[in-house]
């Protein structure tokens, strides 16, 4: 007796096709509708999606609070910057550096994880926070006595990604219209983001994924069931970090410039908020969080400046401060009303519903 493999209903195929189509034409739609700067924002949305998915492995699946995740992003970015720029005049291909970045970040993640594994939740948060700050401080100060990172000035003129000789940042021409490099990078990032999603989905439904859930819910019981908690946690750190390393390399090639200022605690906090606000442990939720938190500040910026001019005739409040103020308020409000996130995984929602009874 065997059960037939259920056929995927036609609706699901149509939905996937629809989503694929939307993703494919998105940059053109945004560019035409809102202007080319929004394509750049889309690219950052995809970058942050990869980051958020990586952090989701650590925070969402394994339940390990990491407040210094941006350090792995920094490692990947600086590796790319050092190996593919005029700084040391090395110009290694991006396709070699990206896997290297992933591997280096992996090692960094394991290095961070090894001594901190037995720490409890909040302590782990502080240690990872400290680790993130240490990495940033070193990036900032490693210009003496040997100039490795060029200190606060950062590294400039980083090479872009080349695909079979075609330089992505030169853009392309389609139907007579000229499209900038941002459009080309969009498709690269989209491909990698889809790869990241695929990896996460497979991880979630694997032995390791279930081991992570077990550890997150009750570590002692997991150990009693024979799960090697130490190794599994290390794996979570390493895998999450590798996502960050890849995203960092992409960031460096895309922006062409890295400096310690891009890797502050605030950035780490942002990524954590994307994961928690979106819905910890739930891939669509995390993507939603990444999209919202990347788009919202830009959106606010478009609204606040004209609004202030209209209401007061001038800039009363520095828009940057107002933007962050609203962001902070939004964090508080969302957490008060949806502590499980905007799109929580089924397990979380059940947890919270039962807690409210």
């Amino acid at each position: 007796m065997h059960s037939a493999t259920p056929k995927v209903p036609a609706r699901i195929w149509m939905a996937y096709l629809g989503i694929a189509l939307v993703l494919f034409v998105m940059p053109f739609a945004m560019g035409a509708g809102f202007g080319n700067s929004w394509v750049r924002i889309l690219d950052f949305v995809l970058l942050y999606t990869i980051l958020a998915l990586g952090l989701n492995i650590v925070v969402g699946y394994a339940g390990l609070l990491d407040l210094g995740y941006i350090a792995f992003y920094a490692v990947g970015a600086y590796l790319f910057a050092i190996l593919a720029s005029p700084h040391f005049d090395w110009h290694v291909s991006a396709w070699i550096i990206l896997p290297m970045g992933a591997a280096l970040a992996c090692i960094a993640g394991a290095t961070l994880g090894a001594p901190t594994l037995r720490l409890r939740g909040d302590y782990l948060a502080i240690v990872t926070l400290g680790f993130g700050e240490i990495v940033r401080l070193f990036m900032n100060n490693l210009d003496q006595p040997v100039n490795i990172t060029n200190g606060p000035q950062g590294i400039n003129l980083i090479d872009g990604v080349r695909l079979f000789g075609y330089r992505l940042e030169s853009g392309f021409t389609l139907f007579g219209h000229r499209f900038s490099g941002d459009y080309a990078y969009y498709y690269l990032f989209l491909a990698l983001a889809l790869l990241a999603i695929f990896v996460c989905v497979r991880l979630e439904n694997s032995r390791i994924g279930r081991a992570w859930v077990a550890i997150r819910e009750d570590e002692i019981a997991a150990q009693a069931m024979g799960i090697n908690t130490r190794n599994v946690k290390l794996l979570a750190f390493a895998m999450g970090a590798s996502f960050g390393g890849v995203a960092g390399g992409l960031f460096a090639s895309f922006q062409g410039f890295v400096s310690p200022e891009s890797f502050t605690l605030m950035e780490s906090v942002m990524v954590v908020c994307m994961v928690v606000l979106g819905g910890m442990g739930n891939i669509p939720g995390v993507i939603l969080g990444a999209v919202l938190l990347t788009v919202a500040p830009e959106f606010l910026r478009e609204i606040i400046n004209p609004l202030q001019r209209q209401l007061f005739g001038r800039m009363v409040v520095d828009p940057e401060n107002l933007r962050m103020l609203l962001f902070g308020l939004a964090l508080i409000v969302v957490m008060l009303f949806r502590p499980a996130g905007l799109w929580p995984s089924k397990r979380r929602r059940e947890e919270l519903e039962s807690a409210h009874d």
Binding site: P145, V272, N321, L325
Partner: protein, 309 residues
């Protein structure tokens, strides 16, 4: 030898300030199991309000001794910060007492962001100067120099800490606080108004924090909207160093961290042959923190908080 004494004195001053802030963190963590990320911002706001009051007083030509002016301004800042601390607890933390542990952490971060940016909107992004109303002539002390202000800071901090110890160990409120820290449910059964105790904890911590903020800005002559973040982080490291949840530990941790940081900043170039300079000073707090947590996670004085489910 001169440098050593000077660095020790600097460390003592810094350490006293860290200790005051660390007490706020440790009290809240001991009772709620929550890292109050917003505490550093309360320190900053205490400093800012005091400076504003001082500027107003000086601007109106009030001719009183500098110390009295500062005291008056401090007396305005402390209730403001206490109210702020109370409000934050009621609005951002109390509704989430039974939510998954990450939720209050995120709200704490949100509150911290809101306060930082509010401060920048109100007081601007520049450094705000502390009005020069306090005596600053240095005295000689074993080859190092220390001003009357700095002596005052150390003495005042010690007095406040002693007062807090008295409160926690000898009064009814203190007993209620210790009971709530041990077990909120049982304390409630024993007739302790847990909500009230928690509010008082936040209020006390905020008062201490405001005082610490004034001390920092008076000692360094300036305040800034971002000063709370780094101070808070280091003070929290100090609290962990001493054993989170343990008041005596917070004091010892604060003093120790201040001295380590001072000595380290002073001697790091000699120690590493010029490879690492004093700009790595901030790294010390983090290094100490990580080392303590890896090798002695319960801190120096041990912790008495049970494993939270």
């Amino acid at each position: 030898m001169d440098t050593l004494v000077q660095q020790l004195i600097n460390g003592l001053i810094l350490g006293s300030i860290y200790a005051l802030i660390a007490l706020g963190y440790t009290m809240v963590y001991g009772i709620l199991g929550l890292i109050n990320f917003a505490h550093g911002e309360i320190v900053m706001i205490g400093a800012m309000i005091t400076i504003t009051c001082l500027n107003i007083l000086v601007g109106h030509g009030v001719h009183l001794p500098g110390l009295v002016l500062v005291a008056i301004s401090l007396l305005m800042a402390i209730p403001a910060c206490a109210l702020l601390g109370y409000t934050i607890e009621r609005v951002a933390y109390r509704p989430l007492r039974h939510a998954p542990r990450l939720a209050p952490l995120i709200t704490a971060i949100g509150v911290s962001i809101v306060l930082q940016n509010l401060a920048m909107i109100i007081w601007g992004r520049q450094y705000v100067a502390f009005p020069a109303v306090l005596p600053g002539e240095p005295h000689e002390f074993f080859g190092a120099s220390i001003t009357s202000l700095q002596i005052l800071i150390i003495v005042l901090a010690a007095a406040i800490m002693a007062g807090l110890m008295l409160l926690v160990n000898r009064t009814k409120l203190g007993r209620a606080m210790r009971a709530t820290a041990q077990s909120p449910q049982v304390a409630q059964l024993m007739g302790v108004n847990v909500n009230h105790v928690i509010s008082m904890t936040f209020i006390l911590g905020s008062c201490l924090g405001a005082t610490a903020g004034v001390m920092v800005s008076a000692n360094y002559g300036q305040a800034h909207a971002y000063m709370g973040f780094l101070l808070g982080l280091k003070a929290f490291s100090a609290a962990v160093l001493g054993g989170i949840g343990n008041l005596g530990g917070a004091v010892i941790g604060g003093l120790l961290l201040g001295i380590i940081e001072s000595l380290g900043a002073g001697y790091i170039s000699d120690l590493t042959g010029g490879f690492l300079g004093s700009q790595y000073q901030d790294v010390f707090a983090f290094m100490v923190l990580i080392l303590v947590l890896v090798f002695r996670p319960s801190g120096l004085m041990g912790e008495r908080v049970a494993e939270r489910p």
